[in-house]
């Protein structure tokens, strides 16, 4: 294989997988014939045209589904990202603070001391099952124990300490940071929505896994990396920035980011938004999210298949 062919193949990866399976060899043949043999890379205008054509082909993938199915997929990804992010954040926090006893926190009865670990672990299982399974009943079966793992410590801690936030968890007898009341309610609501949306919309494409993986990795970096909050913030903000730029091709990632930020904010901003929390951020957050969502859905309308309207 010549260097020109290798580089041309690399450029063709801009096209979606299904398109490449059908067209890549034919396009490669044409590209190699049209490019002088002594070159190592295709000409700049060929590279530009491949980039534009690949992005157009990716945008065309959405046009096979109506707007509603595309919105469902975007909301599903946003919820999966939020639940996964929160679970990894809590597990990392438990690991990082093992053995530390913060002042004023309530110790849980030892009988339910294992639940803070089980809750996030089971949440991760729910996210994985919802992502890969096409059967809603399987997702529901995974979600029920996870919901129980949230409700048991919540009830136990509320019975111990009725006023204020219902903190109070124990890891092997040691109190560590757990989950608050509002956060629990939001987590359970998001899990319910995830179960409802599971098995609908389009198949979960592998392309989603890269940004999702980066988002899930970021809280682990924050807790275990030792003072790398900026790195975490930059990582999450980079995913958000690329999603905003990607709106030209596909508006769904931007909707997913809006759902993620909204869920995180409603849950008390315990994770991401503490990094950028200030009164000004809170004031502009909701109108900003609303505007971003409206823009993304408006754009997605043109990227989705048009459904025939029934006339009255």
């Amino acid at each position: 294989m010549t260097r020109l062919e290798r580089h041309s193949r690399l450029l063709l990866h801009v096209y979606p997988k299904q398109y490449r399976a059908e067209r890549a060899e034919e396009m490669l043949g044409t590209l190699l014939e049209a490019t002088p043999e002594e070159r190592n890379w295709p000409r700049a205008r060929d590279a530009r045209a491949l980039l534009a054509g690949g992005l157009r082909a990716r945008a065309a993938l959405n046009r096979r589904l109506p707007l509603r199915a595309n919105v469902r997929t975007a909301v599903f990804v946003g919820l999966a990202a939020f639940l996964g992010f929160s679970a990894v954040a809590r597990l990392s926090n438990l690991y990082a603070n093992a053995g530390v006893i913060p002042g004023g926190w309530t110790r849980l009865p030892s009988s339910v001391g294992w639940t803070p670990i089980l809750g996030p672990l089971l949440t991760l299982v729910v996210v994985l099952v919802a992502w890969f399974s096409r059967r809603r009943i399987a997702v529901l079966a995974a979600a029920l124990p996870a919901a129980a793992a949230f409700l048991i410590p919540l009830t136990a801690s509320c019975s111990v300490r009725l006023a204020g936030h219902c903190y109070g968890y124990a890891q092997f007898g040691q109190p560590v940071r757990g989950i608050g009341f509002y956060e629990s309610v939001i987590q359970l609501s998001c899990m319910t929505c995830l179960v409802t949306l599971a098995g609908s919309g389009e198949p979960r494409r592998s392309g989603w896994l890269v940004p999702l993986g980066l988002v899930l990795l970021s809280p682990a970096l924050l807790e275990l990396g030792g003072g790398v909050a900026e790195v975490t913030a930059v990582l999450v903000l980079a995913v958000a920035a690329v999603s905003i730029a990607w709106i030209v091709v596909d508006a769904r990632p931007m909707i997913a980011v809006c759902v993620f930020v909204l869920a995180d904010w409603l849950g008390g901003g315990g994770n991401l938004l503490t990094l950028i929390s200030s009164p000004a951020v809170t004031v502009v957050l909701l109108p900003g999210l609303g505007a971003a969502l409206a823009l993304a859905i408006w754009r997605l309308r043109y990227q989705s298949a048009r459904t025939p309207r029934l006339r009255a």
Binding site: R23, E25, E26, G29, T30, A34, A49, A52, A57
Partner: protein, 126 residues
Amino acid sequence: MNAGRPDRRPVTPMREPTYFVLASLLDGPLHGYAIIKRAEQMSGGRVRLATGTLYTALDRLTSEGYVRLVSEEIVAGRIRRSYGLTDDGAAALRAEAQRMAEAARLVTRSARAAGPGRVGRKVRPA
């Protein structure tokens, strides 16, 4: 030729690469690289189609029914497909050529009526 079918002539002007892709197929089916060369030759070297542009145009024209896949063969271990003009594609191409000819006639007619001095006259800068 088009009897019983709705008129599929384009309502908006064709883009130049699309026009020359269709025009290159007038003499018979061609494969990708041959379309690029033929379009360049027909346009006097002005239209040099990039590979990405060609296949984006072919995808669109195939879905619109203007171009169809005629044959597939394996050349040097790679698939090579040849594309041909459909009846609708030929009609759309003729309609576009007619539209451009009418547009050109408007200008040449008014230029002729205005006399030879008006056309190509140098304009003094203000």
